[in-house]
Symmetry: C2
Subunit: 274 residues, 2 copies
């Protein structure tokens, strides 16, 4: 496995692989990798000949009051995990925004709801860094986790608009044995917080397993199960437009975002029509 911190080296490697006819897969991450990320690397491998991973805590996607400074990091552990999952190139830039950088990429509509309403500028930070990374790597395929469902939908939209040659694929959400969605931020949780954090998945499971078609009724049931300090949202929406539904009469997505202690957690499940 190669490691690089210069974008030009990444561009050169990816180009040389493409010129040999190899399909290049790309998994952008913020590091502190866990089994969820590992499953994305495996998915990239299954679809591509070469796999590039980026490890970069992207300041543009954090708000001023968010956890940029304390976001967990473990570059050595990350590189071990990458090597164990057959990564060809790990890209660990010192910064992705050299002096003079002044471009912003935003997706309209999809980013004004759910996490976008709660975290102003967050998705602009995501689409800006992903567009830049796509420009550096030039992948055939890029893999994102379904855990950040809205991010996946927003990035797919951006890629379709600006990088039609890049296929954006989602890897299934990975959970701990107790049902908690894997997240680098779970390490912020105390043991007591962690117990309450399980209520996110419990609420979503109740919605998924119910036969009730009415969205207001489903949301009320979901809310009643949450044991959180602050609920950002719980919603049942069209998976691709993210528009709220009144009835679950077609495939839908149920999503929740809430604070447990100071930690903002998100989770989501697919909901079948009933």
């Amino acid at each position: 496995m190669r490691t690089c911190n210069d974008p030009d080296d990444v561009t050169a490697w990816a180009r040389s692989w493409r010129s040999e006819g190899a399909r290049v897969g790309f998994v952008p991450t913020m590091g502190f990798l866990h089994r969820g990320h590992a499953s994305l690397l495996d998915l990239a491998h299954a679809r591509c000949d070469r796999v590039v991973v980026s490890i970069y805590v992207n300041p543009l996607q954090f708000g001023p009051s968010e956890d940029l400074d304390r976001y967990p990091r473990d570059p050595e552990g990350d590189l071990r995990l990458c090597a164990a999952h057959g990564v060809d190139l790990a890209f660990l830039p010192e910064t992705l925004y050299p002096p003079g950088f002044s471009t912003r990429v935003r997706v309209e509509g999809l980013t004004s709801v759910l996490c976008g309403a709660a975290r102003r500028g967050h998705f602009e930070g995501v689409t800006t860094v992903v567009a830049r990374l796509f420009g550096i790597v030039g992948p055939c395929t890029s893999v994102f986790g379904e855990k950040d469902w809205q991010q996946y939908v927003v990035v797919r939209r951006m890629a379709e608009d600006l990088h039609p040659g890049v296929e954006v694929v989602a890897g299934p959400l990975v959970r701990d044995d107790d049902g908690l969605a894997l997240s680098s931020r779970n390490r912020y949780l105390s043991a007591a917080d962690r117990v309450r954090a399980l209520s996110l998945h419990r609420a979503l499971r109740a919605i998924r397993d119910s036969r009730e078609p009415s969205v207001p009724a489903l949301l009320e049931e979901g809310r009643s199960l949450l044991e959180v300090d602050r609920l950002d949202y719980i919603a049942i929406v069209d998976p691709w437009s993210l528009a709220p539904l009144e009835r679950v009469d077609r495939p839908a997505r149920a999503l929740v975002a809430a604070f447990v202690g100071n930690t903002r957690l998100i989770d989501n499940v697919a909901v079948d029509p009933r």
Copy 2:
């Protein structure tokens, strides 16, 4: 010469050329091509093995009160000119914004001055369409005219930020025998307007040829030579930051934008330090 209107076909052709090791040059245009565009095609040919040209009047870069509807068009003439200048692929999309398109690309700072101050949203329209076209074509080199100096600087910035593999090159401004900068919009000018339009270049030439180092004095001289109906701006700036200068003590750019009748004209020249 091939012509395409489906972006996927363009992507496929460009990819096949790249896979043969060919350097792909790209010249985005809004059509109604003249000798200025032809010089950009020739420049692309001199640097690349294959040349792709796009012909598309981009609605995103026109303001609501601007000339989108009456912007001149001549697809047959355009294709003749392209063929005569050895273009390999002419891309004439019906639209570049299919239903659902929702991404915007903007460059901050550089776009808030000069034409960006006068034409709100104009450069966001330019960088959005160029970023999308770069994603479709995947060129090694893209050529822009120095006639739109600010556009060239803004696109260079966008490319450095989002498409570091694309070299953005400027072709020199081409003038008619009387000195008028070639522009598709010159066809709007009556004979009397055209005489007054020459005052833009006359003012810039006076600035360029003067030995005066003071920018306010130079601008006053330039203004005194203009015979226009409305002056948008006349400015002497750093060529790359576009920041206004007080003295011409380093290489600079003098730029002017003004209305003659209802036609907005722009022009610019390099100004050497004195």
